[in-house]
């Protein structure tokens, strides 16, 4: 079976993992597996990862870091004499990870699952998929980072034989994932058990370690201004150096109560340079960044409210992202949830490992864990609420935190007789007014002549990749329009970027996925049966099991009578138990 790799494409660091014998393993690219998300142009060579990171402080103009913050925008980035889109830079990082994984593991990497912050918008998700495509990869799925971390944690617990992993007791039932990375912050609340359900997800796509670093940079700049009268705020070479200095100081402050920031030959304009020497205590750093931490706590409270849970109901708090190493983070969360609820998880590798598990779910290699995720943003339609006054409302069609995949339809009505068309405008966001939300797609539905108040059915689908599909239909006249939304560039709506599809055709292979491959397992029963059959010798027993498995899979796909499915499933399970027992007896005889 061809493996599906899991990639955590982070703001500061990236990571690639794959399932080996059912367990996720991080591939040690750049030594540790933690690969800086940096590219740097060295003459004609494009460096990526650790080498690029080493070069970035000295050659900021030839280097790009934190490109994740630009995903979903059309900002142009220049390296040497060429300009790039954010997707191109992300594609270089992806390509590097996959090439290195190939070199280390010996297997070519083609199919991947890439993680994104849960709070990423549709545009940012699409941009991430596009990056994968430009790297020559098949992106099987875009999944949410906190969900991936929870999947990994659930896997670790289940395989360590912790009985509470599977039970429904109040203590272990709900988990909260707090994910503070280099550039983004997410919080998700999940209900654990035989199926893993996300109950609420919120966050801030522009809050992360970079912001904490910048606070230190600002502090250093102040000192330089006071001491030397130099203003380095707009001097890129100095800023690049100081950013690296600040990041190191921040990391050191997670272990030490205080650090000395000593730096000489900081480049200044007109060939000058300056030095800095200052002490920064952890306490002072925490003061500088208190508002940032409090912003995350506000999100945590919001998520709790949306999941309708009280702190006492949260059994576990999982800390993900390098920034959670700052002692203030666990300390602050302890105040809300108590200390006992925080198991140790690897804050750097959990997300990629979880993505590898998701890869296994898609390929059919892992059917034990079942995951149900949610929409992070409300999807609405712009409508005219009162024809006379021309007031526009956003009417929600899929509210946020709805479990996916989901399809929802609402009926609307035309305003005037013989109305020629309706413009279907899809908005994403929580505001009741269009101005407060983001327009992510738009299509016209040309109408057949009809009386006013003619019903128009608008259907939105949110697929497992978190991507939006729209169908608009004039009821009774078989006039129909479909839209797959590319929301990266709202200005281009109505031009070639708008993909209108004729009835029933869907060419988006990546969104549809390859999950329906005839050969792959579809649930835990078929997976166990397949494993068993693979290990059996040819013979009557094997044939019997195989034919029963075929019947079972057919019954599942037919979607027919559950009673029949039950019957075949029982038969299959009992036959499998017999098979296992026979194997055990064989072992004893030996």
């Amino acid at each position: 079976m061809e493996k599906i790799y899991g990639i955590d494409l982070g703001t500061t660091n990236s990571c690639i993992s794959v399932l080996e014998g059912g367990k996720p393993v991080t591939i040690p690219v750049d030594g540790s597996g933690i690969v800086p998300s940096v590219v740097s142009l060295d003459g004609k060579n494009m460096l990526v990862g650790r080498k690029a990171w080493n070069r970035a402080a000295a050659f900021p103009r030839q280097s790009i870091r934190s490109v994740k913050r630009l995903m979903g925008t059309t900002e142009e980035l220049t390296l040497g004499d060429k300009s790039y889109e954010p997707e191109d830079i992300s594609a270089m990082i992806l390509r590097y990870l996959c090439d290195e994984a190939h070199r280390i593991g010996g297997h070519e990497v083609e199919r991947v699952v890439i993680t994104v912050p849960a709070y990423f918008s549709d545009a940012q998700r699409r941009s991430t998929m596009e990056a994968g495509k430009r790297a020559g990869l098949t992106v099987e799925r875009i999944i949410n980072e906190p969900t991936a971390a929870a999947l990994f944690y659930d896997h670790v617990r289940a395989s360590s034989g912790d009985a509470s992993a599977k039970d429904g007791s109040a203590g272990g039932r709900y988990s909260l994932v707090y994910d503070l990375g280099g550039g983004t912050f997410d919080v998700s609340i999940l209900q654990m058990g035989d199926i893993i359900e996300v109950l609420a997800s919120t966050g801030d796509t522009h809050l992360g370690g970079d912001d904490f670093d910048n606070r230190i940079v600002t502090r250093i700049l102040e000192q330089i201004r006071e001491k030397d009268g130099l203003n380095l705020e707009d001097h890129l070479p100095a800023l690049a150096r100081l950013r690296a200095v600040a990041e190191n100081a921040k990391i050191a402050l997670s272990r030490k109560a205080s650090v000395w920031i000593e730096e000489t030959h900081i480049p200044a304009p007109r060939g000058k340079n300056c030095t800095v020497s200052m002490e920064l205590s952890r306490e002072a750093f925490e003061d500088l960044t208190e508002d940032l931490v409090e912003r995350t706590i506000t999100s945590v409270e919001q998520a709790m409210q949306e999941a309708r849970l009280a702190p006492g109901q949260i059994g576990r708090v999982l800390l993900v992202g390098g920034m959670t190493r700052m002692p203030i983070i666990p300390a602050r969360l302890e105040k809300i949830f108590g200390a006992a609820q925080m198991p140790a998880v690897d804050p750097d590798l959990s997300v990629a490992n979880g993505a590898a598990i998701q890869g296994g779910i898609i390929s059919g290699e892992n059917c034990e864990q079942i995951l149900v995720d949610v929409t992070p943003h409300t999807l609405s339609l712009k409508t005219l609420s009162y024809a006379g006054e021309r007031l526009f409302d956003c009417v929600p069609i899929i509210p946020r935190n709805t479990q996916i995949p989901v399809t929802r339809a609402r009926t609307f009505h035309t305003v005037v007789r013989h109305q020629e068309l309706v413009q279907l405008q899809v908005y994403q966001g929580e505001s009741p007014e269009p101005e407060g939300n983001t327009l992510i797609g738009m299509t016209d539905l040309k109408l057949a002549k009809a009386e006013a108040n003619c019903p128009i059915i608008v259907e939105y689908s949110y697929d497992l990749n978190g991507i939006v599909h729209l169908v608009g239909e004039q009821k009774g006249y078989s006039r129909k329009t479909e839209l797959r939304i590319d929301s990266r560039n709202p200005e281009l709506f109505g031009s070639q970027d708008l993909t209108e599809i004729e009835d029933g055709e869907d060419e988006d292979e990546s969104a549809e996925g390859n999950s329906e491959d005839a050969g792959s397992a579809v649930n835990f029963v078929t997976q166990r049966a397949r494993t068993l059959i693979a290990g059996m010798e040819a013979g009557e027993a094997r044939d019997l099991l195989s034919s029963l498995l075929v019947r079972y899979e057919e019954a599942l796909r037919d979607g027919g009578d559950e009673g029949d499915v039950d019957e075949i499933e029982d038969e299959l399970l009992s036959l499998m138990e017999d098979g296992v027992e026979e194997d055990e007896e064989d072992d004893e005889e030996e």
Binding site: I361, V372, L384, P405, T407, R408, T411, V415, F524, V565
Partner: protein, 124 residues
């Protein structure tokens, strides 16, 4: 509609929430969203409809009343507000009125009437 949900999850009329949950989890494990997205959506809807218990309503009642569009939550509770037929609207209304007394009936009544005769129309 409730009857259909019971059939989908194969639970008895008097099944308690825990039994409903078990039935739901068992079937979702059989039909994971990954490989059976439509079947999963049906199961999900059935589960939401059947778990519309009093505790849940009590818990969310104040939030519901603060919500300018009370129907959003009502719709969520019933799985899909488009499917609320008049009978269900009435039963939801009387359930809530029973729980919280007469004064809420008016505001809810308004919200429901507004939705029923929804004058939301599309832009020209």
């Amino acid at each position: 509609m409730i009857e259909r949900a019971r059939r989908a999850l194969k639970v008895e009329r008097e099944a308690d929430p825990q039994t409903v949950r078990q039935a739901y989890v068992r079937l979702v494990r059989r039909y994971p969203p990954e490989h059976f997205p439509e079947k999963f959506a049906d199961l999900r809807r059935a589960y939401q409809q059947l778990t519309l218990d009093d505790d849940f309503i009590e818990e969310n009642f104040s939030k519901m009343m603060d919500d300018p569009d009370a129907l959003t939550l009502a719709g969520f509770m019933w799985g899909d507000r488009e499917e609320l037929d008049s009978g269900e609207r009435v039963s939801l209304m009387s359930l809530l009125a029973f729980l919280k007394g007469e004064e809420v009936r008016d505001s809810l009544d308004q919200a429901l009437t507004k939705a029923a005769s929804e004058e939301i129309v599309l832009r020209l």
